[in-house]
């Protein structure tokens, strides 16, 4: 569904992506894993057209995304930090996002998370009055809103309370089963182990490997993913 071909990006002298090639197929959860500043976020931003790569290309259903915005209709995105217009009430924000994305959907909006996170109760509050966790919930709800084929979640559970994390994880699983491609970044291995099918391991702008978690475990003979990764990388 998404093909990265020799993707390169540098910021000044810093080489953030050094020719990454990856293929993501639907109906799976892929975790982008790697140390800090390894290029995960840059990769996501390239996918979303927020960062324009210097070299290589990205194909979305065989179409190059360079200079295109329409493919984004099929992507939902939850940023690492969500900030919204300070003086807007939450209800108005959702209304606005629906309005801006009107052409993205033919059927109903997916408002499941709105209900399960109990966000509707807070519709009257202005965005500046919300806690970081609540804003994360808003971001998550917005990412799933348009029932997109691809959902990209940047550090989705950071800042969420355990209950909300659980709700989100269940939602991710549900969407995967519905045939969607879900890309997440995360530092928490237990979480990755719990929700992801495969791992793309990225170090210094290169994809070290892209494997199914089961394969990693059986390859290394370790039960826990963290250990398995450690094992794999220290080889």
């Amino acid at each position: 569904m998404i093909e990265l071909e020799g993707l390169q990006k540098h910021y000044g002298k810093i080489q953030a992506l050094r020719g990454i090639s990856l293929n993501f197929d639907p109906e799976q959860v892929v975790a982008l894993v790697g140390p800090n500043a390894s290029g995960k976020t840059t990769l996501i931003k390239c996918l979303l057209g927020m960062v324009i790569p210097d070299g290589g290309r990205i194909l979305f259903d065989k179409n190059d995304i360079a200079g295109d915005v329409n493919y984004k209709r099929r992507i939902g995105y939850m940023p690492q930090i969500g900030r919204y217009p300070d003086n807007m009430r939450m209800g108005y924000l959702f209304g606005m996002m629906k309005d801006l994305g009107k052409n993205r959907i033919t059927e109903h909006f997916d408002e499941e998370l709105l209900a399960t996170f109990n966000l509707e109760e807070m519709f009257a509050k202005p965005m500046r009055a919300l806690s970081g966790g609540t804003r994360q919930k808003v971001s998550a709800a917005l990412a799933f809103m348009f029932n997109p084929d691809v959902i990209i979640l940047d550090e989705p559970t950071a800042g969420l309370d355990p209950l909300a994390s659980e709700i989100l994880k269940q939602k991710i699983q549900k969407e995967r089963k519905a045939g969607k491609l879900i890309l997440i970044t995360s530092h928490i291995m237990s979480e990755v182990e719990e929700i992801a099918d495969s791992i793309a391991y990225i170090v210094e702008g290169e994809a070290k490997f892209f494997k199914r978690i089961q394969d990693i475990k059986s390859e290394t003979g370790e039960e826990r993913l963290g250990k398995a990764l450690f094992h794999l990388l220290s080889k």
């Binding site: 900030r83 996002m97 801006l100 052409n103």
Partner: protein
């Protein structure tokens, strides 16, 4: 784009700083008009507000608003929306809000106290000046990622146009005082929208008579219809050029 303008307006009209700006402008204009029995005197005192406060608030408010909305702009970019539409939408939204604030805070009192051509000219100059500094603020905002630096650049631009430029101009005048400088000065004034706005208003106010012989040259130029068209055009260029550059940068910018 219209939707973005609408939502930016919805947000900014609830902004407390903007509200404070309106109050500040209203207080100073009503205060100055009531303190001076003479309307034109009040207007010329208000000119200082127009030339210093309006550019400062316009450029600072816009820059801060831009950086506070940075993550939201990112989110909008991740939506199926064109970058140019996003930036121009936010630009138009911020510009319209600041213009509205200016119209309520200064425009209204000016019309109430001095509904003459001078008053309208005053409002026109202020409106153009507001938009020039909103444009400059967008330029300052897109060339850096860092909020503090962005605000620093905005402040420097304001400082440059309200003070440093005139200081340099004065030094140039001193250095070449043996030559007739009127034409050069007219040309140089086009390089500073604040000077241009000031001259446009001054020549409509009766204070222009003070300018004597040298002023007569300015009067002849800026008072003629060609001069008015030309100075308007230059002001419009000052609005369009920075925002166009900002747009070019923003289109390729890594968010």
């Amino acid at each position: 784009m219209n939707k973005i303008i609408k939502y930016v307006l919805h947000d900014i009209f609830r902004n407390r700083i903007l509200l404070a700006y309106v109050v500040l402008l209203s207080l100073s204009s009503f205060g100055l008009f009531m303190m001076n029995e003479d309307v034109s005197k009040g207007l010329s005192s208000l000119l200082t507000v127009l030339l210093i406060v309006v550019p400062l608030v316009s450029i600072l408010f816009t820059t801060i608003y831009f950086f506070n909305s940075y993550e939201f702009i990112e989110l909008l970019v991740a939506q199926p929306l064109k970058r140019s539409n996003i930036l121009l939408g936010v630009y138009a939204g911020v510009g319209l809000s600041l213009l509205t604030a200016f119209w309520i805070g200064i425009g209204l009192p000016v019309i109430i106290f001095d509904g003459t051509a001078t008053g309208w000219y005053f409002i026109l100059s202020g409106s153009l000046l507001t938009m020039v500094f909103v444009s400059l603020a967008f330029l300052a905002s897109v060339i850096t990622r860092d909020k503090t630096r962005g605000i620093g650049i905005a402040m420097m631009l304001w400082f440059y146009f309200t003070l440093i430029f005139d200081g340099i101009l004065l030094m140039v005048m001193f250095a070449f005082s043996d030559y007739p400088l009127e034409k050069l000065t007219i040309f140089l004034s086009c390089l500073n929208p604040v000077d241009l706005a000031r001259i446009m208003v001054l020549l409509k106010m009766d204070i222009s008579a003070l300018m004597g012989y040298t002023g007569a040259v300015f009067n002849q130029f800026f008072g003629s219809s060609l001069g008015i068209v030309l100075s308007m055009t230059v002001m419009l260029i000052w609005i369009i050029l920075p925002i166009s550059i900002a747009l070019r940068i923003f289109k390729r910018k890594n968010l």
